[in-house]
């Protein structure tokens, strides 16, 4: 992969806490525009830190992160972020939550409301636009959060285990919605998860992280569009096993 056409370029990035504990060491990773990459790893392996570095929420102690060839110094408007929890504002109706990325910067126009309603329709909760977040189920809240991340049409999305708290069926539905939305808009995605099957189902490329390093990087050779049948495909299972093995190996060494 050439690094020139990369949307995200992570070059020799290390990150340490103020007390000197190193969380990430010398990470190199490149995500071409329009690609969907997944990071898997156990809790505390540094995957969320890497995501926050890519977002500009944290600054690396060594190395640099670039977006379209420009150094990242802070949060970029080109990047949408989806958090572990939906993080909706309880005091605003769903539609105003979705419009937040716009209303923080300028007056909301009729066109913006159209866009937001269109997105809510695409994630299947158009009829809930006027409800408050507390009135929605966990899955519906995650859908609203996804719509909010996409409303300003960012060219890239960073996602931090956004579906981890959902039941299996809802999670599969949301994965399909996500794939549909990002392929429609050619969005570049970096998706963090601890679920191997989720990573393989969603990603073009999967990186396994372990104790601050990338232990394995693998391309996923599954045809798109993927659907429920892909999840029971032999190739799918083989990919999962391959990644599972990479995740298990370093821990066995440590034991």
């Amino acid at each position: 992969m050439s690094t020139d056409d990369a949307f995200f370029s992570v070059n020799g990035v290390s990150y340490a806490y103020a007390d000197g504990t190193e969380v990430l060491s010398a990470i190199d990773w490149h995500i071409p525009a329009g690609a969907f990459h997944c990071l898997v790893g156990r809790s505390g392996c540094g995957k969320t830190t890497l995501l926050k570095l890519a977002a500009g929420l944290l600054q690396p102690t060594k190395g640099q992160v670039q977006i379209e060839g420009h150094m990242v110094h802070g949060p970029s408007p080109k990047v949408g972020f989806v958090f572990q929890t939906p993080a909706l504002l309880e005091w605003l109706p769903v539609i105003d939550n979705v419009l937040l990325p716009i209303s923080l910067h300028r007056r909301v126009l009729a066109d913006d409301r159209e866009t937001a309603r269109g997105l809510l329709d695409l994630v299947g909760i158009a009829d809930l636009a006027g409800r408050y977040p507390g009135q929605l189920s966990g899955g519906q809240q995650s859908r609203a959060a996804l719509a909010r991340a996409l409303v300003a049409s960012p060219p890239a999305l960073l996602m931090d285990e956004p579906f981890a708290a959902l039941d299996a069926i809802t999670r599969e539905e949301l994965q399909d919605d996500l794939l549909r939305l990002v392929s429609l808009r050619q969005t570049t995605v970096l998706f963090v998860t601890h679920d191997i099957a989720e990573a393989v189902y969603l990603g073009d490329r999967v990186a396994v992280m372990d104790r601050g390093r990338i232990a394995l990087a693998a391309s996923v050779e599954l045809p798109r569009p993927r659907n429920t049948n892909s999840r029971y495909d032999q190739q799918f299972t083989a990919q999962c096993q391959h990644i599972r093995a990479a995740m298990a190996r370093p821990v066995a060494e440590a034991a």
Partner: protein, 252 residues
């Protein structure tokens, strides 16, 4: 409404029992007046307008002091909550001023602001200040780290994060402070009048004590209680309206 019926029956039973004991045992009205006598005095006071002038004055003092204390407490809470060095610098002093019993300051306020409404309003405002200050400072910390990161990702400015995330997130906590303040405000106004005023319900209690008129004192207690309940209910309605988004979520 129906669930209040037992409470009302209990009240009636207590009043009848009280009346019976006072009459049968021949208790002096100086010690404990009969409820019937209290209601007569109360009714007369309301009809002749004698009580209304005091109600207006105490009501005005309570609401002025409450508004003043809440607004200043809220603003100071926001400033101290947002500016960490200032909080570290001033917190011991804020705490010290709150530990001083406000009523002990009454005499000096009378020297500064004169005998009458101003002193009582200042005392009431001081009493309302602290619950608002403390709850605002606590409330501003209520937004989750993820929501703060969200606002950072969206490029929100500091004042936007304050107005559109931190203050709304803290509103339930801040409103709890307002509810405490309204109750304290009435107590502050009444007791403030004890020392610093010749008008109002608190001053009337002192006057009634001077005349050994226990019946009037009981009538005044009832008026003060009714005012307290009214103010509290109004605050509660306002709070429900303000927090409708949160409450709607909890219903389903």
């Amino acid at each position: 409404m129906r669930r209040h019926i037992p409470s009302v029956i209990l009240l009636l039973v207590l009043l009848v029992g009280w009346e019976a004991i006072v009459r049968l045992a021949g208790v002096s009205s100086l010690v404990v007046p009969a409820p019937s006598a209290v209601f007569v005095v109360l009714w007369d006071g309301l009809v002749t307008g004698f009580l209304w002038q005091h109600i207006w004055i105490t009501g005005a003092e309570t609401l002025l002091g409450f508004a003043l204390g809440c607004v200043i407490g809220f603003i100071c809470g926001v400033v101290l909550g947002e500016i960490e060095p200032l909080r570290r610098l001033l917190w011991p002093y804020v705490l010290a001023t709150q530990v001083v019993p406000k009523l002990a300051l009454g005499p000096i306020f009378i020297i500064w602001f004169g005998f009458g409404m101003t002193s009582t309003v200042v005392i009431t405002a001081l009493i309302c200040f602290f619950p608002l200050l403390e709850n605002t400072m606590t409330g501003l910390q209520a937004a989750t780290p993820e929501k703060r990161d969200l606002f950072r990702m969206l490029g929100a400015r500091r004042w936007q994060t304050l107005l559109r995330l931190k203050i709304p997130s803290g509103l339930p906590v801040i409103m709890a402070g307002v509810r405490v303040a309204i109750v304290l405000a009435l107590v502050g106004a009444v007791v403030g009048e004890f020392i610093g005023s010749s008008k109002g319900l608190g001053a009337s209690i002192i006057a009634a004590q001077g005349m050994m008129d226990s019946t009037l004192m009981f009538a005044l207690f009832i008026v003060i209680t009714a005012m307290g309940l009214l103010f509290y209910q109004i605050t509660l309605v306002f709070e429900r309206w303000l927090l409708r988004g949160w409450l709607k979520g909890k219903v389903s």
